[in-house]
Symmetry: C2
Subunit: 192 residues, 2 copies
């Protein structure tokens, strides 16, 4: 898959992780526009420095622009790739045990300062917390995906709906599948 968008200028060789370039390109993509639709309300965005994230990997999908991207992922959709970065690769041990995984990612193209949004462009606004819009103070996306397989340090899944090159921030068993197992095994402190 050929890199595009913010990463087009940093061609990736197979198996080579140009992590520094990747993070730099993602940061550039974060600069958002300041357009407001009728009725929308933006606030002065406070400095987002209460806690820091580290990108643990990169998501590869077939979708290069928001217009191409499906509204919601389907478990019969295309296979997407979760490329895990070092030093986190050993943390994949046991992931293949589960049918469904929860994927948490950073919606790096999203602006963050809207409290009221007008999704239908009609001036009828809804609060950001009553939408699953990518525009939110902490643009975090979550999906429940179907596990397909593992190839080296890459996890193959179906059910995503995010742009190619989206930064990955976490991967864990789906709560529905994990909880009975955790209880049955009697482990301590496994579930959040």
């Amino acid at each position: 898959m050929k890199p595009s968008g913010a990463l087009a200028e940093f061609p990736m060789l197979a198996g080579e992780c140009r992590l520094g370039y990747y993070v730099q390109a993602v940061r550039q993509a974060m600069i958002s526009d300041s357009e407001l639709r009728e009725g929308e309300v933006a606030v002065d965005m406070p400095k987002a420095s209460d806690a820091g994230l580290i990108f643990i990997g990169r998501i590869r999908t077939p979708w290069k622009s928001r217009d191409d991207t499906p509204r919601q992922g389907s478990h019969s959709g295309p296979v997407c790739r979760l490329e895990i970065f070092e030093p986190w690769v050993p943390a994949l041990k046991g992931v293949d045990f589960y049918q469904n995984l929860e994927v948490i990612y950073w919606l790096h193209h999203s602006r963050r300062n809207l409290v009221l949004q007008s999704p239908k462009h009609n001036g009828l606004t809804r609060g950001t917390f009553s939408l699953r819009s990518p525009v939110r103070p902490n643009p975090i996306g979550t999906s429940i995906v179907r596990f397909v397989g593992i190839e080296g340090s890459t996890v193959l899944v179906r059910g995503l709906d995010c742009l190619d090159e989206t930064p990955l921030i976490d991967l864990k068993p789906d709560r529905c599948e994990f909880s009975p197992l955790a209880a049955q095994k009697g482990g301590e402190g496994e579930a959040e």
Copy 2:
């Protein structure tokens, strides 16, 4: 509810948001121990500065220590409070429309550098990404909760399982409930 733990030294008056103190206390709580159980593997934690979070609120629960905290929240569990900070309060508009909400929070007491963990203390390790342990490179918790009501800038919910004073980072409609609605309404760009 009387503050405890890291916040005990910063008594909160009703309705007063001592935000600066809160963030400072949460940061202090983040300092984690370095103990390793048999078989566990820690890595050198890279600087977590790829993206920055802002705490949009604070979660109030009955649980003051990890030992008290249930393994997994129940929709018949106690009512917990999501106190939303300014400037995000207007973003609550419409939240009361939904029965179920997804709550995303920062597990501020968790260490971040384990790739293999031994939840049962028996030397049998599992990868961090195959557990819902709070110990993970980005200690983000997610729960699907039942909406109970709104009191001013506070959302009441059932189904949480986190410590009192846990920082809130996002709140959105449960994907299962939101998707058919979004499709039916024909809105654009609503779902991630």
